[in-house]
Amino acid sequence: MGLDDEPRGRMLLTALIALILTVLPLPPWLEPGRPAFLVLTVLYWSIASPRAGGIALGWFGGLLLDVFQGPVLGQHALALSLVTYIAVREHQRIRYKPAVQQAMIIGAALAVYEFVVFAIDGWSGHPVTTPLRWLHVATGAAIWPFAAAFLNYSSGKRA
């Protein structure tokens, strides 16, 4: 079917756009609520097409995040590859859930992700304890149906 090669290009493109959205400067009051676009995109691809992206995409995407905003290299890489692994494992189950339930599952995945980042922040001696850091979990879950619809559309399978 050739489906595996096609999504790969689109996958990288959407991941790049997500990364740009992650580092795009925003007004400060909007800043804490910015959803983790790259995490959402990687989650989408690992659910939609686990063979194309999978854990490798998660790991390298996380490493890029580390270069941009991590105090320790490997921190976001570990967190993102963990949630990618969960998503790849459970992709059959998540895929056919209604949108609201999917959003809740994604929220849980984002919370796991943020917890890993938070824990490594603490262990490596760069703690950030403001509760604002958890805000993106909620906004990410809220934006998930739209993000998934957009990515679906961009993958050209359903208009």
Binding site: I20, I47, A99
Partner: protein, 365 residues
């Protein structure tokens, strides 16, 4: 909601569990190496170079917009700005008119042969690349790197005061940790009375905390904080912040003091990377040298430059320790006016001043 691509079992490259384990181990190894200071510096350098084009691309719309605005500014606005700048320049010129004279006088009083050049050797104007590095921390990205000679732990300021220091330096870009970052601490001094302490970032652009001042410390709101020159990164005497509020609680042993930084990073588009003269007394990392040169020979009854005294607690000459750590930097021996044990004078630095007449005067005009 169904997904477009049909389901397929992840088959290539082993089971997902195994692959995840491998990647997890890889990231833990990377984290471990990165925590050991400097082992991954090379990799970080390369990654930073690779990511810089993307960061530039991200910041290009805002840069283009401000360029657009600038080039279509009205004649009136430009004339106004020009007038304002001319006034400001006249003000600065008037203030600095007596600078040379004062510098010479100061050198004479200190018993130095020549007036010293200013501690800042040269500086490089650098633009803030408009990229969100980390919303939880106070970091910015500059468009200069090792290609311009920027090094790790270099001071960054604007014309109002200190902003921060470079943290990770790539070939064309440098990440700066601001003094307001919660992980940053800068050794400061109250300008009014010389009280030394540490100013720690509070995590937002508008405040610094001074957590190590006792409740009876002589600080009040409005006091100017300048760098104390300890800690080995920033030279002495540069303005940092102004104290905004002092809160004293009868049951707390420490005062709660908040200061507002003078540098305005949220409005700055251009900042300065500064190189300092390493041989200057006020230079960072040369704190011990500062004492030996600036000690006034008239005060000390014997010629005993403090340098050969092995007992004196050297003021933390941590040579290029990256961040100003709150430990160890607080103690500095005062310029010991007590009679020092007679030691053979070091020939090069001791012009044998007789007690009253400063024999080696700085050149009379």
């Amino acid at each position: 909601m169904a997904f477009g691509t049909p389901s397929r079992a992840p088959a290539r490259g082993g089971s997902p569990g195994l692959r995840f384990a491998l990647y997890a181990i890889a990231s833990i190894v990377v984290m471990f190496l990165d925590q050991r200071e400097g082992w991954l510096e090379r990799a970080r350098f390369v990654l930073q170079a690779a990511s810089y084009p993307l960061q530039l691309a991200v910041s290009s719309p805002t840069a283009a917009w401000s360029w657009f605005q600038e080039s279509f500014e009205t004649r009136d606005a430009l004339r106004n700005e020009n007038n304002k700048l001319r006034l400001a320049q006249r003000d600065v010129l008037l203030r600095s008119m007596r600078f040379e004279e004062l510098a010479r006088e100061n050198a004479q009083l200190r018993g130095l042969r020549d007036a010293l050049p200013p501690v800042a050797d040269h500086w490089l104007v650098s633009e803030v690349v408009n990229v969100q590095l980390n919303s939880l921390r106070q970091r910015v990205l500059l468009n200069r790197g090792t290609a311009n000679g920027v090094f790790k732990g270099q001071a960054v300021m604007d014309e109002k005061g200190l902003l921060g220091q470079t943290l990770h330096v790539g070939p064309w870009s440098a990440e700066v940790i601001l003094i307001t970052d919660p992980e940053h601490a800068v050794p400061v001094q109250v300008e009014r009375n010389g009280l030394r302490t540490i100013a720690v970032g509070a995590g937002d652009t508008a405040s610094l905390a001074l957590p190590y001042l006792p409740a009876n410390a002589d600080v009040k709101s409005g006091d100017l904080l300048v760098t104390s020159g300890l800690g080995g990164v920033f030279p002495a005497g540069y303005p940092v912040a102004r104290i905004a509020e002092v809160h004293r609680d009868a049951v707390q042993p420490l005062a709660q003091v908040r200061a507002i930084p003078l540098g305005r990073i949220e409005v700055d588009r251009e900042v300065m990377l500064v190189w300092f003269r390493p041989e200057h007394p006020a230079a960072p990392g040369a704190a011990s040298m500062a004492d030996s040169k600036s000690g006034n020979p008239k005060i000390q009854p014997q010629v005993a430059p403090p340098k050969p005294k092995p007992t004196a607690p050297e003021p933390a000459a941590a040579p290029s320790a990256p961040a100003a750590t709150p430990k160890a930097t607080v103690s500095k021996p005062a310029a010991a006016p007590k009679p020092a044990p007679a030691k053979p004078p070091v020939p090069e630095s001791a012009p044998a001043p007789t007690a009253d007449a400063p024999k080696p005067p700085a050149r009379e005009q």
